[in-house]
Amino acid sequence: MNDVWAFFSFSDPTVRIVSLGTVFLAMSASVVGTFAFLRKRALVGDAIAHAILPGIAIAFMLSGTKNPVVLMMGALISGWLATWAMEYITEKTKLSNDTAVALVLSVFFGIGIMLLTHIQHSGSGNQSGLDQYLFGKAAGMTEQDLWTYSVVAVLLLTVVLSLYKELKVYSFNPDFAAVSGLPVKAIRRILNLVTVLAIAIGIQSVGVVLMAALLITPAAAARAWTSSLKIMLILAALIGGISGLSGSLISYLSPAMPTGPWIVMTLSIITLLSLFFAPKRGALSRLLKQRRHSQKILNENLLKVFYKLSVERKLEQVGLSVDQLQAERAINKSDFAAAIRRLKRKNWLLAEGEKLKLSSIGLVEAKRVVRLHRLWEMYLSQRLNLKEDHIHPNAESMEHIISPELEALLLKELDFPTQDPHNSPIPYAN
């Protein structure tokens, strides 16, 4: 616990540099990555990250230094070359885009590995540390690195903010952007450039192999919570930042632990949780919704049975037993009991000893369901030209879906009919 305090007091300059640097890197990658995510280019980001390796190796071989600015220039050039190569191969050959991506990714990476091992084996003294680009080694960040990365991060954010509108239109709909006269080519180049830049600095924290996660995963998480691009960018940056911080914390607490993979681990968990639990777009809320719907369907089917038996067969005064109801419609026992409990709770059903009766508000509700069912039957026979004997089973289920707004439309279109196609009366509220 003391260690956690020690970390968050940021009194240790190394901790300060490393965590600040990691957070900056993660945040700028997340922001830029959001656009890559929206353009459905997650795997292109992965390829660029791998393709940066030979650039770094060549920059080192030519310059002999590990100066971050020099290495980043190399990274930038090879990342840019890879982007161009993927576009060229997709456009000019019969190879599909995903093949082009896999091809560029693996060939550049293979060259990178060859050069890197060559450098390692040639033992020119200060070569150690280059392989940190494979898995990232945030812990080795120096103050000079931090400055470089902060400048680049600020630069990236400035570009994104000042071109916000253009990038937004382009990411959502490049065709529309082209039609409305935006300089699409220039926007694409700028976006490619900032992506390569963000990746070039980002690999310091997570390494080339896991860089795609830093780009894409925060955006996917953010997307689960919002449909607004602005909020999405802020959320992605936050999620990226938090993951960066937690990665550095974990490797501070347990130095054997690598920062990069833990950043990705945190990111993935946040994202999976978001994808499952986010309201509206999350999987859980969808499941709950489906459950609510099936309960609603059961409730309403039961009401229909009540309506049929009590109003149309005039069993109203006596009330109905559970057996009578079950004979009318095959519903499994536990579902049936649960539905009856729900209807009682809503006061739509009243118990009279062993028997059950519709309440007055229950009757209104039952009428509504029966009305929608019969209106839909009308619609099927009139608009869809269904034969009379085909109608009934197909009107089932739609009555549960029709909203009040649609009901109004339906009534208007059918001109308030009084009888359904089987000549049963359509019950109106009054």
């Binding site: 599909s96 095959a330 034969k387 085909h390 197909n394 089932e396 739609m398 029709i402 649609l406 439309l409």
Partner: protein, 270 residues
Amino acid sequence: MENQTALEVHNLTASYQRKPVLWEIDFKVPSGHLIGILGPNGSGKTTLLRNIMNLMEADSGYVKIFGKDLDEVRSRLSYVPQRESVDWNFPASVREVVEMGRYRPGNLLRRLKSSDKQKVKAALEKVGMLAYADRQISELSGGQQQRVFIARSLAQEADIYLMDEPFVGVDAATEEAILSLLSGLRDEGKTVLIVHHDLQSAYQYFDWMILLNTRLIAAGPKEEVFNSTYLREAYGGKLNLLSKLGEIIAREQFPLREPDFKEKEGSGDE
């Protein structure tokens, strides 16, 4: 043969990404006709074919072929997908593609018999592509590609042919050749269903029509179907109510059919 029902589609409802694109489609097709499936873009023509071929799951309803399930009579059916649905850069020759018409689940691991190869040759001859048998498919024109697909289908020697837009992107000579070929099939008592989007030529090409716009507008002999009332209904836009309902179903994750809905494997009308 003439009055036998070749194909029955019974109250078929099908969705794409949860949104219903076919509502309660219900019709029967007699055998021995050349049938056009017509309707505006997005009216569910392709979805209908894919449902007949069981390439996607319907929400409800069923399809019977000669009164039987697809799996029992699969060899009597032949499907021609849209030409654009495959990558024509695939490394294969014309002959190789047409040979696929003789592939069956049971002979995939064996060589084709010489009788199969004869049938392939005959099919190539019928579409006028025998001279191109060893040509690579990437070197063909649009019309030639379509001829290859038709030949592949002919090689199946089926009784019902389902073709998705065979006249799209095809030169006039090919269009005419394909049409006379299909008319020939019809005259042999085969049933040919064709998804077609060009109203101009439809009346001249087909003798039977199915008019769709997410719902069935009409199905029957062309004289009964091809009139201004039905055409206006089919091409005059979607039914407002139906499309709104579809949107709600897709957005709200409603089940399109209740779990105990019985009709899917029904045995016919009750």
